[in-house]
């Protein structure tokens, strides 16, 4: 079957694909958005959203069989009874691990934007200039000033809550007023400010509507009610997801065709015009193959899937995958090092607690190797800072009335404050970290199984050691007690920030994409998800994917108008 003729095709209806759809449709392009998973409609497809904790059959616990069949996704903190239906089960979508890699996915309209923890920070030039300075990886073809207006555009529309902190390492954005941090977070902020010139504890900027502006109400979203049950899908549209925001917006334009259950097998290449002509799609239910044609193609299937689709797009001109003249496609992938945690108890602030909840914590931007190389590792890490205190349910002793009266005759008391920080470390994308296609085995749809190989290196180990040392010292300065350091030794992947494989760069010999996210040698194909990332830095990456997507989509519209692509 052959179906034509769209101006644009977008592969993947997740976080980045939603942004491309919005931008292209707003500007009048007839756009086809292809998604391999089922449709998810805002509110009506959030089956658990209004359930009380006691209404879950297993009170949140995942059944034994599910965990046994799906050991990978079961290791993800977010895989719970209330949102397991939004997460890919290992068994249904197998892949090969040349080195251990826990690949966490969400295959549905909305992708992982339904599930994310909504932490959003801009990159600064210290991040974009990292590779040029230390010589690992290639120089980014863009700088902060290229992306700044697009960050602003995304922030205003999505709704980002935060404070203007005035830090050179973490540029401020278009923020909705932040909620207050709690007493212990404030206290730690003061301790750190007094003891360290270069370290800051700030409110964790997040994609929540602390206040709904007209632009958000136009999307049908209202103020965040601070339920912190976001990963079920939010009936208020209090947090940003493609399902609550960009996709319905694009549909409203009348220019978007959304096709769920459409597994893109490859991008088709027309040897005569030297351009991509469209995509080949397999219906995930019937396995029927359809070809769709368009003037431009955007790949937004999530870094690893995007790379695999390009590798699978073979033609006479590109026998090793579309745009892969150099053999670089699938190489130089990276992730974030989330292995380390430092936890402690705080005995102070005993008469205070938090009433209610907020869906974010505190954030400590990177403070190492900013102006010069000062540690034995390259780049650096940021960290989270959590402080909380809850009423403790004593499980009592013994049996019978003695037991029930221990529990029911006393109101639970507050326990001590628990505090903790987690590392968010940059890794250096290396040639030896790769994504490839298996040569013999295929999945249920006949597409080659993906092989992944990523590992930590000496730089990561040194960074982790530094984190443990510094955060223990910082916690000691705050007088926290029972300080413990934990290395989860988790495999790469659980950070859920896989990046690279089709990196941007200035030179077609050393990179796959140019500064507008076009394949260097097939200019009507754009890659604007995490696959385009040249380096990883420390920030949560999705805000940058969204800004890059909006920027590239607007460039594509202009280039189409000018007949350049």
């Amino acid at each position: 079957m052959n179906e034509s003729n769209y101006d644009a095709i977008i592969i993947g209806a997740g976080m980045s694909g939603g942004w491309v759809a919005k931008e292209l449709c707003e500007q009048g392009l007839k756009t086809l958005l292809l998604e391999r998973g089922p449709d998810v409609k805002h509110i009506q497809d959030y089956p658990t959203t209004n359930m009380q904790p006691w209404e879950f059959k297993h009170r949140g616990e995942m059944p034994y069989d599910v965990q046994k069949e799906n050991p990978i996704v079961s290791r993800c903190y977010a895989f719970k009874e209330d949102n397991a239906h939004f997460m890919v089960k290992d068994k249904e979508h197998p892949y090969k691990q040349d080195k251990p890699f826990d690949w966490i996915r969400g295959y549905q309209v909305g992708g992982k934007s339904l599930l994310w923890a909504r932490q959003t920070q801009r990159w600064s030039d210290f991040d974009f200039e990292g590779p040029a300075r230390d010589g690992f990886s290639v120089d980014w073809p863009i700088r902060y000033k290229d992306l700044a207006p697009w960050y602003s555009k995304v922030e205003k529309f999505a709704g980002i809550t935060g404070n203007k902190d005035g830090l050179e390492t973490l540029p401020d954005g278009e923020f909705l007023p932040a909620w207050q941090l709690n007493c212990v977070q404030d206290y730690f902020t003061d301790v750190i400010a007094k003891n360290y010139k270069d370290r800051h504890v700030i409110f964790g900027r997040c994609a929540h509507l602390a206040e709904a502006k007209d632009i958000h109400r136009e999307q049908g979203r209202t103020q965040c009610m601070k339920r912190t049950e976001c990963e079920r899908g939010c009936p208020f549209g209090g947090y940003f997801s493609s399902v609550s925001s960009t996709i319905p917006w694009a549909l409203k334009s009348g220019n978007l065709t959304l096709k769920p259950y459409s597994v893109v097998e490859s991008v088709m290449y027309d040897e005569e015009s030297g351009k991509a002509s469209g995509v080949r799609v397999i219906d995930s239910n019937t396995k029927e193959v359809t070809e769709y044609t368009s003037k431009i193609v955007f790949l937004n299937a999530g870094s690893i899937n995007t790379v695999s689709i390009l590798l699978n797009s073979k033609s006479d001109r590109f026998p090793n995958g579309l745009g892969n003249d150099t053999g670089l496609l699938g190489k130089y992938v990276g992730f974030h090092n989330y292995r380390g945690k430092v936890n402690a108890i705080h005995d102070g602030h005993i008469n205070t607690a938090v009433k209610g909840r907020i869906p974010t914590g505190a954030y400590i931007p990177r403070f190492q190797n900013i102006h010069r190389q000062e540690t034995d590792f390259l780049r650096g890490y940021a960290a989270t800072f959590f402080a909380g205190r809850s009423k403790q349910v004593e499980m009592g002793e013994g049996f019978g009335h003695a037991l029930s009266s221990q529990i029911l005759d006393n109101q639970p008391e507050y326990g001590p404050w628990h505090v903790g920080s987690g590392i968010m470390g940059a890794t250096i994308p290396k040639e030896t970290n790769y994504i490839k296609l298996d040569e013999t085995e295929t999945d249920e749809w006949g597409n080659p199984l993906i092989r992944i190989s990523m590992e930590y290196d000496d730089n990561d180990e040194k960074m982790l050691k530094h984190f443990f040392g510094q955060f223990t010292e910082m916690f000691e300065k705050a007088g926290f007690e029972n300080i413990t350091q934990a290395d989860s030794k988790q495999a790469p992947g659980l950070d859920i920030h896989e990046m690279g494989g089709a990196r941007m760069g200035k030179d077609a010999k050393t990179s796959v994409l140019n500064k507008w996210n076009q394949l260097h040698n097939c200019k009507n194909v754009f890659v604007t998800d995490g696959a385009c990332m040249t380096s990883t830095s420390t920030q949560n990456p999705s805000l940058t994917y969204m800004a890059i997507s909006a920027r590239a989509a607007n460039y594509a519209v202009e280039a189409l108008k000018k007949g350049e692509i």
Binding site: Q52, P63, M225, E229, N351, K355, F399, H401
Partner: protein, 181 residues
Amino acid sequence: MHRREAVKRIALASIAAMVMTRCDFGEEEVTEFLSEGKLQLNQKHKKYLAQISETFLPIKGKSDRIDPAADFIMTMVNDCKSPADIQKFAVGFNDYKNLMNQSSLEIDTDEPEEVLTVVEGVLDKKESKEELTYFILTVRELSLKNLTSSAFFMEDYLDYQLIPSEYIACYDITKSQNERI
């Protein structure tokens, strides 16, 4: 059950335990509670399990916002335990029944103290059969979980609200009894 009887039972339990641990308990012993590897309880069994749970953690009449414990225990054992642990639970259930000598599957609820003396005696004895101990501890743990995760406990004791009405970052807990988690 009278105290003297109860004490006798403890002695019996430890003797039984010694015998039982050496004895190979086949499927036949537990088929009453097991079917295709899952706990299968008829109404009578369920009632018995409910009585055991109520004896371990008496909450009858406290609130209608607590789910029936036996249903919850059964669901959790069947869905969240490994096949080996389900088997262990079923064998332990059988041992418990034998220990209490309740062929009619009734507990004299007027005298739960005596039952608990037996139960605590089992837990105190190192040589008690693993399955029996596992059954007792699992029923206790899941009964507690059923209570503490109930609407009654979460709302009335932990002040849980799905949509918290407000957020106060630094709340003076000495000033009000009405804290929310």
